[in-house]
Amino acid sequence: MFEQAISAMASVMVDPYLLGLIFATTVLGVIIGVLPGLGATTGAALLLPFTLTMDPVHAIAVLATIYVSATFAGSITAILINTPGTSAAAATTFDGYPLAQKGEAGRALGIAVISSTVGGIFSVLILCFAAPLLARVAYEFRSPEYFALTVFGLSMLASISAGGAVKNLIGGIFGVWLSTIGAERVTGIERFMFGNYELYEGLHFVPIFIGLFAISELLVQSKTVDKIIKTVSMKAVKLPTKEDYKKIWKTILRSCGIGTFIGVLPAEGATVASMIGYSEARRWSKNKKEFGKGSIEGIAGAEAANNAATGGAMVPTMVLGIPGSGTTAIILVGLMVHGLRPGVYLFTEQVEKVYQIFGSMFVANVMFMLMGLYAAKLFARVSLVPTQILWPIVFALSVIGAYAFQGQLLDVWLALIFGVIGFFARRHGFSVAPIAVGLILGEMVETNLQHSLKMFDGQWWLILTQPLALMFLIFAFLGLCGPMIFSWITKQKD
């Protein structure tokens, strides 16, 4: 197994086509990351239709590369123009931009590049070791365990950073309901199709995701057309000095652990990881006063954590079929589209492909480091592309991408409708990621509940007699009610 994994990962390095593809996708990912509003999730949604004709490993490598490179690239604009290219880089603005204003933009970018690379590579290594172990545990899972696990995954939506807990759960339930559209899998009874037989097999994820992430973002960006972007001047990216390394190595290591752990939790992602990484960096720092004024520990804490979350988020996605973030939800769809069924069988029957994907993520981390060090200044200029040119192009890519998936115009209309729904949801403080996660998990929840009921002759409470299922349901309960109980206890103590 170990030898097989090493040889599969090494095969990436000697595959010129795959290396070229990762290089091109890293460039694209960095461009997507620096363009405010686009981000890893929108970029992956737009690119998904382009991967349809690719080999499965190449397709997932493209999506994973977009994920890691765009997550890193958000820091470039966060530091230079005080606008995070992705939400995961929001914490980087706290200290990155103040340091850039002091004339040290190159140093800030250097710290961000190194921290991101260490975080990314650390999480890929953890992914390589943790994923097969978790897969072994998941081998024991049956329907009650999977049902409880998906309930746990849905409960974690409550703690996604955007929106409030209740709003996120409402979004998640809406997403689960969307998965019930079409013919019911056991009985074949048509649900909510209204005579439209193109919906017989249900809503497909691709057009819905393009609508929710790309079209809705287009409408959100239409509100910012008058915004004038000011950049901070920079000569070149500077590698951290010995003094800098001495100051930040502990922070980077801590954030690597935090980011990977947060990433592994279902439905949590890089944004939450970077916020926690930043606040922990501040808590443990000897120079707390520097935070908010250009602390390099602040930049390292946020950047190592958000890139560490990328590898972590791939663990539940590939092992359990539960996405760790909005972008991994799209990667999960990519896996399904290409016939790579996430779960235990992926690690037993297609282990070579799995490790090639991991190897691609490793290479992508090295490539974005080189690009960050040598071309950050160039990429920063991309962020100055006028919105009135960029977003109409995104519109064209979205509608054609939605059509290309199944060759159905209905998918184009669905993308537009869900774009408008996503826009109104975001307008009123609902995040669209829970809808996407709910849509993916919906089928798993219902199917596993049906199977569990059959297993226990309709006595649903017997699900609680299964130790693992009970554990996940307790976690779900704690995820939902834990913060409320904790604040109540704190109030009582006060």
């Binding site: 382009f50 349809l52 004709t53 409030g164 209740v166 709003k167 759960l169 409402i170 339930i173 809406f174 689960v176 309901w177 019930t180 019911e184 056991v186 009985t187 009874i189 048509e190 649900r191 909510f192 287009l218 409408l219 239409s222 509100k223 057309v225 008058d226 006028p386 919105t387 009135q388 040119i389 977003w391 109409p392 192009i393 519109f395 064209a396 890519l397 509608v399 054609i400 059509y403 290309a404 060759g407 115009l409 184009v412 209309w413 537009l416 774009g419 408008v420 826009f423 307008r427 009123h428 403080g429 219902e446 509940l449 049906q450 199977h451 009921l453 059959k454 226990f456 002759d457 309709g458």
Partner: protein, 156 residues
């Protein structure tokens, strides 16, 4: 009713109406014979369960709104509403003329609507983008586009 004067309660209300509509539609779904469903659920049960759960959460959300009084969301600028109207125009043009004519017109008008003053730049974007995307999808990805005025000329 006095709370309804405040716009913020419109969202929970609309979502509650949606949930109740789903429940009403679900109740009209066919039922399966016992020998197929066995001890499992009828097709209607799961959506109804979801909507009841959603109504419960909407109750909590309304209470949160009542306690915290969030600010009403301000109305967007004409760019946003105009873009949505362009989506409608895209639908009409795609159905009655050709998808690529729809894309061309929407890109051109959207660029101008969003503030592009140079007509030639808007025109160039509207022409080059669908052209390149068509070449990529048709030649590389081998995808056939829906028939319309332009595609009939191309496919023959």
């Amino acid at each position: 009713m006095k709370y309804m004067k405040n716009k913020i309660y419109l969202i929970p209300l609309i979502l509650a109406i949606f949930s109740l509509s789903v429940i009403a539609i679900s109740l009209q779904l066919d039922t399966s014979p016992e020998m197929i469903v066995g001890d499992s659920m009828q097709a209607r049960s799961f959506p109804i369960f979801l909507m009841v759960l959603k109504l419960f959460l909407l109750g909590i959300l309304t209470y949160q709104f009542y306690k915290n009084k969030p600010k009403a969301v301000s109305l967007e600028k004409y760019h946003t509403w105009g873009s949505m109207l362009l989506f409608l125009l895209f639908y009409l043009l795609t159905v009655y003329t050709d998808m690529f004519i729809g894309i061309f017109v929407v890109i051109f008008l959207m660029s101008i609507l969003w503030g592009e003053k140079r007509l030639w730049v808007a025109f160039l974007t509207a022409t080059v983008t669908p052209g390149l995307v068509f070449l990529l999808f048709d030649f590389v990805l081998k995808i056939r586009f829906p028939r319309g005025i332009l595609m009939n000329l191309y496919y023959g």
